[in-house]
Symmetry: none
Subunit: 153 residues, 2 copies
Amino acid sequence: MRIADIIEQFILSAMQEDNTIEISRNSLADYFGCAPSQINYVLETRFTLDRGYKKESKRGGGGFIKIDRISADTSDSTRLIIESVGSELTFRRMSQILDRLKQDKIVSKREVNLVKAALSDDALSLPILSTEKLRANAFKSVLIELISEKEGK
Amino acid sequence: MRIADIIEQFILSAMQEDNTIEISRNSLADYFGCAPSQINYVLETRFTLDRGYKKESKRGGGGFIKIDRISADTSDSTRLIIESVGSELTFRRMSQILDRLKQDKIVSKREVNLVKAALSDDALSLPILSTEKLRANAFKSVLIELISEKEGK
DNA sequence: CTATAATTAGTCAAAGAAAGTCAAACTTAA
DNA sequence: TTAAGTTTGACTTTCTTTGACTAATTATAG
């Protein structure tokens, strides 16, 4: 049996209760007698966005890795939409999905506008060389939207 | 638990009343049994302009460190933030800015979480070849966040 | 008054404590 | 017999803690 699968199972059962877990990468690697980077491998291949996991981490003293997930038994429309998005998404199609979520009162008008601002063609314009540049661009788009909202367009 | 975080919490709760506090660096370091420069570290990393804090200090007998919280509540201050963002932005810094906007009631907690989800490192993970792929990834992150919100995380 | 001592806070670099990256080596399944 | 998936370890980056040294301000002795 692969160590990667064993670690995956361990994490899964540990977060079964409340869909969240905070681990220490080194301790976990130590516990399973593997390289610390093995933990990263498990996280990258098993606990992905596509599978409904959110990750967060911090280095240095008191560092950690935190994993959150949407509960496995959630079977509402939003979950279906994730699957339907696939690997590519035009702004037009995203807008349609957002508008529907708005109609269903799952998000507010303001929230729709913020997400549209963050993920517009302009905000995500490529080619961009780094994640930080991309984020700076997209975030400014969000801030401008906030000003617009406030000033009533 | 990090001593830096403990000191941060201490200061935060002490200045909760009227958004200001005056401390003695040495007394505080003494109280927490740490190096005085640890106080500077907390100030430099936690009480930054991005987070809405202004600092002032004086050395010598009767010296002090004064911290003031300044609120961002006009469109103008949002414009200033846009300028300060520059051409690159880490997730950590964006989170600080968003947390501040939240404190000043410019955005809701939900809106903060949606934008963080849309522009997280995972969401914008490069190398990605097209805007559509990028958007698909980022939007899934938003949808997962929506489900989490619904589940009352 | 002035020089010196005492009393603060500031700076910076080194050491320590985590997690992240990446490519080479190894395994396994098709 | 490859191609994809897995494992490992050397190296990097980030965050925290500490302490020696510096700078500014006030208090005091002469």
